[in-house]
């Protein structure tokens, strides 16, 4: 496996994606919108809290967790486009006729689907956290962010969620011949992460560090299983003889 080759594939994918305005907008706008909306909410809540710190800190972790949900949603559109798009343009066969290995192609496409959405999610989360610190410092007398909980969420669980989303999109891409259909199927990957969000909102679970590590562990195991499945799906022979 040659990382340089995968980066060449990734660079090409990003060049194509850059020209697909709808994908770019969805990746940039959604995290930005979420961060601005939550920042406004926090600013308002801080103004109304009248010096009751517990009111203000309540819900900050669940809002941060929302960026994990975003990390599970955003990569699907690039991953689906980069594979089903090639299927539609029938450009996979000449690509597969080059000395590039299946793994290098898959890794390149995964890098392209992983990097922009993760950067966008982290950027959105950073805006939210900076604004929150600014708005709540006087009430809390300390900066709420960064903390270990947000660290586990954004640096461990969010990337694992993004990988989950990419692998699901690869598997879905082998079964559909339409970018929108693959996008929709890939987009469903947010459901398990949203379920955790709702479970926390209804006090079924707490987003403690221990719980987050357990969830991350589960997602890691699922990611590993999906890795082997997606690698088995993305093989020359399979693509040319079985993909619809």
């Amino acid at each position: 496996m040659n990382l340089g080759t995968s980066l060449t594939v990734a660079a090409k994918e990003l060049m194509v994606v850059r020209r697909k305005k709808s994908i770019i907008y969805s990746i940039i706008v959604l995290p930005l919108l979420v961060s601005v909306a939550f920042s406004l909410y926090i600013n308002q809540a801080a103004a109304a809290a009248s010096g009751i710190p517990s009111d203000i800190s309540l819900g900050l972790d669940s809002i941060t967790y929302f960026f994990v949900v975003l990390a599970a949603v955003l990569p699907a559109s690039i991953a689906a486009y980069s594979i089903v798009g090639e299927k539609v343009e029938k450009s996979l066969e000449p690509l597969l006729a080059t000395p590039v290995t299946d793994g290098e192609i898959l890794l390149g496409k995964s890098i392209a689907a992983f990097v922009p959405p993760m950067l966008a999610a982290w950027a959105g989360a950073s805006i939210f956290m900076a604004d929150t610190d600014f708005a709540t410092h006087d009430l809390l007398s300390y900066y709420y962010f960064p903390n270990w909980t947000s660290g586990v969420m954004l640096l461990l669980l969010a990337p694992l969620a993004a990988i989950f989303s990419i692998e699901m999109a690869v598997i879905a891409s082998s079964r559909v011949s339409d970018v929108r259909a693959a996008n929709q199927i890939g987009g469903l990957t947010f459901i398990p992460f949203m379920a955790v969000f709702l479970a926390e909102a209804t006090s079924l679970i707490a987003l403690s560090i221990v719980n987050l590590l357990i969830i991350s562990g589960v997602v890691l195991v699922v990611d590993l299983a999906l890795f082997f499945l997606s690698a088995a799906t993305f093989r020359r022979e399979e693509i040319l003889t079985k993909w619809r």
């Binding site: 060449t8 020209r19 343009e89 029938k90 450009s91 066969e93 000449p94 690509l95 006729a97 000395p99």
Partner: protein, 307 residues
């Protein structure tokens, strides 16, 4: 350069390629003729190590297509123009070629030189910054050929390169293949265009799941026994027809004042036919001999397989 022995590929119960044995020499333009579903694309895919074989063996440039180790080496020395051009439509012509140059590990200078050479040669240089999606079919096909040649491969596999092209674009592609022939590239050309095969191929194989025949276009034409003698008469009457029937000619067909008679040896049989017509009071205007064509050979071989 390419050698296959009993090469077979099955998809479940369906045999797509059955015991194919052939040899393609270096610098040869080898035509692979066959109807749709004959196994031409499957053969090319096996030889390019895109799909595996079920049984048999094949070597491409002395590398074994069945070896995991040799597969990348084969892909380095071959170029493929698939039946669907498969360009990145939202990338420019230049970017399409540059991407492939990078995948084949060519330096920036090499890529620049090759891209400029091919785009100028194929009349696409002015369009180098235009999105491939805006190109006509002919332009796309030319770009796909340039892409397959960007790494200077020893063997070029072309799958129906002129299918769906207008006559002018098809001619450009054919002329380009003849240029490549001068550069001593080995070209494996899948086609069902008999005229094209006859014009540009050194040898032709006819495939219909199994290899039906292989040879030069002339050899294949000669492989169909029998020619037709066409006799134009001033008039045709029953006495002439009876006289020819008495000669026991095979497959006589009458078209107004023209008689077409199947003969095996025209030099031996035609004088007797003309003499019989003359003796029956007929007046011969002209006599011509129509030989068998590559089309005759192709159709006969394909029908034989069907029957």
């Amino acid at each position: 350069m390419i050698e296959a022995e009993n090469l077979t590929r099955k998809f479940g119960d369906l045999t797509a390629v059955d015991n194919l044995t052939l040899r393609v020499d270096e610098g040869e333009v080898f035509g692979f003729l066959g109807p749709n579903g004959a196994g031409k694309t499957t053969t090319v895919r096996m030889l390019c190590c895109l799909i595996s074989k079920t049984s048999g063996s094949a070597r491409v440039g002395n590398y074994d297509i069945g070896s995991q180790e040799d597969a990348p080496k084969i892909r380095k020395i071959v170029g493929l123009v698939p039946d669907n051009v498969g360009l990145y439509e939202s990338l420019t012509a230049y970017e399409n070629l540059d991407y492939y140059g990078k995948l084949y590990k060519r330096t920036q200078a090499q890529r620049k030189e090759r891209i400029e050479y091919f785009l100028k040669l194929l009349g696409l240089w002015e369009k180098k910054d235009a999105m491939a999606g805006t190109f006509s079919k002919g332009m796309k096909q030319k770009l796909a050929i340039a892409r397959a040649l960007i790494h200077d491969p020893r063997i070029l596999f072309m799958d129906e390169p002129t299918a769906n092209l207008d006559p002018e674009s098809a001619k450009t592609v054919r002329d380009f293949i003849l240029e490549l022939k001068k550069e001593k590239k080995t070209i494996f050309l899948n086609t069902h265009n008999l005229d094209e095969a006859q014009r540009i191929c050194d040898r032709i194989a006819i495939l219909n799941t199994r290899l039906m025949s292989v040879g030069t276009p002339d050899e294949l034409e000669r492989s169909v026994r029998g020619t037709t003698t066409v006799i134009q008469l001033r008039r045709v009457n029953d006495a002439i027809l009876d006289a020819l029937k008495r000669l026991q000619v095979r497959n006589m067909v009458r078209e107004d004042r023209k008689l077409m008679v199947e003969v095996v040896d025209p030099e031996e049989e035609n004088p007797a036919i003309v003499h019989a017509i003359d003796a029956a009071g007929g007046e011969v205007v002209s006599v011509s001999v129509v030989g068998s064509t590559l089309e005759d050979a192709y159709l006969r071989l394909v029908r034989e397989r069907r029957e």
